[in-house]
């Protein structure tokens, strides 16, 4: 039976894993390769690196991190953050990345998703969608934001998810800007609405504070996988404990 995936996400800055709250108070949390190896040993199903450097001059640093990680960690690795061109995608894949995640560049130039999927295959093109609940004309609207939630795009999350699927994306990572950082759980209504609207896998992201939240993302949010950062980084729960709680909730997991 296909297992629901548990995916730790590591923020990488200047070649190091950093932890912080909402991109402030960043603390060094170690060498990406060591942290990745630890998560692999704990039973992580995949790993996501988010390159929060985002300056073009430092792209080579993340490529080196990917190379070193892919040399000794034998599970799928996704990199997101600052992916803007076909060359960015190619360089990351050549460095040993399995999937590349596109966010702002997809909103600015949707055809970029199509070109990337045509060139490298849908299976390695992930689109990040960051919705935020706003009110428009007296009605709630799930508006896609870019630039870490600071810039509204006018796009509606469910419609945009369908569009990126038709452009060739193989997976969607959905990060609710309302839930992100709260540790109160994922935004389940938005996650379920997007998951049910598309036929590609959806990864729930943003808001996990307890393993039960990951279970909820799969059962109530209909997600294929759940991504989390702080609950693992701060040693609150191991991946193994998280999976046991998910299994107790009746979810197939790989233990």
């Amino acid at each position: 039976m296909l297992a629901a995936r548990v995916i730790p996400c590591l923020d990488v800055h200047g070649g190091r894993v950093v932890k912080g709250t909402n991109f402030v108070n960043l603390r060094d949390a170690g060498d990406p390769v060591e942290v990745a190896s630890r998560y692999e040993a704990e039973g992580a199903d995949e790993l996501v690196f988010l390159d929060i450097t985002a300056s073009h001059e430092e792209r080579d640093i993340i490529l080196d991190v990917v190379r070193r990680t892919a040399d000794c960690v034998f599970m799928p690795l996704t990199v997101g953050g600052g992916v803007r061109t076909i060359e960015d995608v190619r360089d990351l894949l050549n460095a040993g990345c399995d999937k590349v995640s596109i966010n702002s560049a997809a909103c600015k130039d949707p055809d970029f998703v199509r070109r990337a999927a045509d060139r490298f295959g849908s299976q390695c093109i992930v689109v990040n969608i960051d919705p935020k609940r706003v009110t428009k004309d007296g009605k709630e609207f799930w508006e896609v934001h870019i630039n870490g939630g600071r810039k509204p795009t006018g796009l509606e999350a469910v419609a945009w998810a369908k569009e990126v699927q038709s452009l060739g994306a193989g997976e969607i990572v959905l990060t609710s800007m309302d839930a992100d950082g709260t540790r109160d759980g994922y935004d389940l209504p938005v996650t379920a609405a997007v998951s049910e609207a598309v036929s590609i896998p959806v990864v729930a992201s943003g808001g996990a504070g307890h393993p039960q939240h990951l279970a909820d993302a799969i059962i109530k949010g209909k997600a294929s996988a759940a991504l989390a950062a702080s609950i693992f980084h701060f040693g609150q729960f191991t991946i193994e404990e998280t999976k046991q709680i998910m299994r107790d909730a009746g979810i197939p997991v790989r233990i």
Binding site: M1, L2, A70, F74, M75, P76, L93, N94, G121, R254
Partner: protein, 210 residues
């Protein structure tokens, strides 16, 4: 020495590193002569069937790969490298494959709640004993990412099946010809164990014809 076929379709480095991790030596090559005369060959690959065959043909690699498989030296196809062994694929139109095995490659047609690509860790069921699976139990997890699957005409080549809205062929084995739909190089200890076995297989061939 294992030769990994480079035809610009996917992540060769991960395969090479995984082979090295289990004590094997591996080089990456797109040279037809090196491929035809390799000790053991791995055909990896991700992407679309038609593009992959076009790249293989552009580099004149179809004949060396077929010739290699004739010699009964150890061969391992991975993901698209499994699918290409068959006669015909239907990804974006109809394309001829390498035709080393008879059968075709078709897209998953599944009920709505089952997502395509089939992406993630799924369990496998043994259909026959094969040397690469000696240390791997039924219900072991492997990492899959694909939208198409193979339908071999000869059911006896199926070594593993996997259930995703119905059983499909997850691995074939026929003599020293092996191929997996999953990615052993991304399947942690189970995958590394399979690759370790591959590096240890006796090569049954005589000297390759130069």
């Amino acid at each position: 020495m294992i030769t990994i076929v480079d035809y610009q379709m996917g992540n060769l480095r991960s395969v090479q590193k995984a082979v090295q991790r289990v004590g094997g030596e591996a080089k990456i090559s797109s040279d037809p002569h090196e491929i035809a005369t390799a000790d053991r060959l791995i055909l990896p690959g991700v992407g679309a069937f038609g593009d992959a065959m076009a790249e293989i043909n552009r580099r004149d690699l179809a004949t060396p790969i077929r010739d290699f498989c004739q010699t009964r030296r150890p061969f391992l196809g991975i993901c698209l490298g499994l699918q290409l062994l068959f006669e015909e694929g239907f990804e974006h139109g109809t394309h001829r494959g390498l035709g080393i095995l008879s059968g075709d490659v078709v897209r998953f047609e599944l009920p709505e709640h089952l997502k395509v690509p089939h992406m993630g860790w799924n369990t496998v069921k043994k259909q026959s004993d094969c040397e690469l699976l000696e240390d791997i139990g039924d219900s072991s997890h492997f990492y899959f990412v694909h939208s198409f699957y193979v339908r071999p005409s000869d059911p006896s080549v199926v070594a593993l099946t996997c259930d995703y809205g119905g059983d499909f062929c997850a691995m074939i084995a026929q003599g020293n010809l092996f191929a997996t739909q999953f990615h052993p190089e991304k399947s942690q200890s189970n995958g590394l164990q399979l690759l370790r076995r591959f590096t240890q297989l006796a090569s049954h061939s005589g000297a390759p014809t130069a």
